[in-house]
Symmetry: C2
Subunit: 515 residues, 2 copies
Amino acid sequence: MPNNLKLIEIAQTLTPELSTTKVYPVQLVEMVPEQDAFQGWSVKTVDTVENLLHRTFVKNDSFVLDFGDHQVGYLNLSLMPVGSPPDAPLRLKLTFGEMPCEIGESFDDYQGWLSRSWLQDEIINVDVLPAQIRLPRRYCFRYLKIEVLDTSRKYSIAFPDIHVTAVTSGDASVIKPLPACLAEDLRVMDNIAIKTLQDCMQTVFEDGPKRDRRLWIGDLRLQAQANYLTFQNADLVKRCLYLFGGMTLKNGEVSACVFEKPHPLADDTLLYDYSLFFVATLYDYFEATGDWDTLKDLWQIALDQLKLAADRLDERGIVRDDTTWWCFIDWHDDLNKQASAQAVLIYALKRGERLARKLQQDEVAAWIDVTIKLASAAAVTHLWDAEQKVFISGAERQVSWASQVWMVLAEVLDTASHAELLRSLFRNPPAIGMTTPYMYHHLIEALILSGLKDMALEQMRAYWGEMVKDGADCFWELYNPSDKRLSPYGSNLINSYCHAWSCTPTYFIRKYFLE
Amino acid sequence: MPNNLKLIEIAQTLTPELSTTKVYPVQLVEMVPEQDAFQGWSVKTVDTVENLLHRTFVKNDSFVLDFGDHQVGYLNLSLMPVGSPPDAPLRLKLTFGEMPCEIGESFDDYQGWLSRSWLQDEIINVDVLPAQIRLPRRYCFRYLKIEVLDTSRKYSIAFPDIHVTAVTSGDASVIKPLPACLAEDLRVMDNIAIKTLQDCMQTVFEDGPKRDRRLWIGDLRLQAQANYLTFQNADLVKRCLYLFGGMTLKNGEVSACVFEKPHPLADDTLLYDYSLFFVATLYDYFEATGDWDTLKDLWQIALDQLKLAADRLDERGIVRDDTTWWCFIDWHDDLNKQASAQAVLIYALKRGERLARKLQQDEVAAWIDVTIKLASAAAVTHLWDAEQKVFISGAERQVSWASQVWMVLAEVLDTASHAELLRSLFRNPPAIGMTTPYMYHHLIEALILSGLKDMALEQMRAYWGEMVKDGADCFWELYNPSDKRLSPYGSNLINSYCHAWSCTPTYFIRKYFLE
């Protein structure tokens, strides 16, 4: 499918200017192994930054700076030689860490399956001193370790100025203050969620500013929902929708993610649920903005996603589960995706139908309506296990949290049944659990939709609240309160610790918990 | 002593534009350990560059390019991903080697005492692909090893274009061709010497373009002599003289070396012989150019060097040898410098006297003349050992090659005695030998000055000719035919293999061996 250059051009005109902030380190620290600390590392204060400014360093010296909070931006280093004129280049190693583990553990031992190139370290050689350096790459970090690999016998090196030029397209000045009566832990959670979203808001809504810095539609949908209630940057959502809409795959499917550079480019990753979220994200955008032009520009692409997804229904009206597709839902090797996918389809169809009605496309709306009824009835007939009182998924009739949560979000049963279904999960938890904050988001949304706000709040506190207790400055890509070194990538060094899909506590708090 | 801004400004207006040449690799090679090869490494051809262009590389792949000759310049890399859109940065390690040892041996094991930062390697992370990269630092190399540290599982990397933008201020088109009858080995030697000089000719005459890329007056004097007979870039010599003259040390001494960046700056290294070579270099420059303005601008500084150096004579008229001075002469830990320094003083005084006469400064010339006589007589009286028939040096009455060579160059005895003295060295070589091509240069010059041209040629062949046999593309900073891993720095990895003070075979050939 050729790119739609008109849509891409509109997206490009919406590229935001990033605002910049100078951020200075607040203290010198060291990472201390401590069994009870999160991931085994605690952070110990060792000196003031003031003292650093008066020190000079030689070969094999090193120090760790703490910038006080999570930063996304560019590192500026002033390098001042002390002693004789520098008769050899300065060689430094810089290691950037969102988390203590990235400073405490050696990247040399990394054995994960994601590219080691995501681990943020650089060796730089500086030929001319003194120097003011701004490293060309963007980094994502709270901690910075500087190791002096070599000076020469004739000079040592001082660092009279080290700061970050932090960048974002999220303007915090437009965010409404929370009412004073709100519980302190929710205020903290809201604040961290907003920081998470802000650090992911660059020239697109990135999934994670450390890794993999791309626009994924699964993350976008949640970011957009949080954004409408906080930064209110509707144009950034619009830009992202036009990027996805402008670069569909060969049958017209919306790709799971797109690249911005060196030029806009759709990734070849196709995920059943993610393509459908184009419809949901467009629906949410229109609800938030009433922007008819965008709706009209992108509607046909949204409708194509519904049709393509509906083509996957078998003769029973159930999403075919074979080896020819990918559906994300959650990071879980054993999770069967069939029931969740069925529910995501229904969820997207329902939003698509409302858009069709708004556009007065009655025939289209009627087709969608028939399809909703078909898929919903099929779900109840073929995926609901009346005996166990749960939705099953796949040939093995797997019972998982995800299947139930998504069926609730698709509103396949009535509210009372949904509430009972969700309650039963807590009484008899399925073996196939939830891995990501992304999946937890959907659990919380399902609980609220089913009238179980107290349980939703309890779960938010048990999950994101526990991250706060574990020291989160931003909310993480992956978190399991009972397995704190969890990584689907083979190493927690490579996890993203500021991740878009984890930013939704601010959405829940501001949407549901301010009354 | 404050800088003379007028002189520095003149120097800066003479900063040359560098000419650039695109150089492509000629073959793929590997370094093979081989006991009999120079430094234990031979170079084996493994593939054509043509084939490289059609290959793609993944994590842990590597290859070594041979650029066919020594290069000084900037590396340009085209990086083309193959497969899915690159979903992770590319991480490469680049290792640049003038010599096979730099590719064959690991820099991680380097234990020398010069800064490890001189070893030329970089780790680069490239966020956006495809990319055209020009590395910002200048490198000096014939061999380039590229190691792919990581791509990702979704793409491999191709290198459709790799080339060097070589830079120099030496214009080879002005060099006169050698007569056809000249012996082939001398033609080869001349050619390599010219390449050595050319690669050191940048915005100053550098000592070595790999290390330490500075303007040292000891190298400058020899480079200038070779330059007058080859590249004829008198302005570059002039620029260097003005830099030294504009930035003297606290008592008015000319520094041993200067830095160009970030702004012109004299190093704090003071060497007795090097300060005196300012006079000799100015003398040679005036002889080559007849440039009266420069002579007048710099004469007082030259004269100051003579006076400061003469102040070091003791009541006998001998250079005081104590712990308060440094004199270079040669890289030799055990060499006593007293006699050589005495001779360098006389050598410089003689050239200073001629300049004073040209400038009609008769009183100054008379003072210089008296000083020459005093120092020469003292040398014969106190440093000549009539029994051994050699010059001795220091309290221990050390006998070295350097003392004899420099006394000959200072023309302290008559030509016949010099010839006999030099001949005797070959019959009964002193234990304190010669280390550097710089010292060998002075031996050759002394032999020629003493009418021993055949012996001079024999020595050139035994020394630089042996370097050629050992595979030199450029002539080396350090070479000992009987200890080929020699390094005064604790590792031959850090030696400079294109070094200014080794470029003088072209000077000897063109000045003395064309009739």
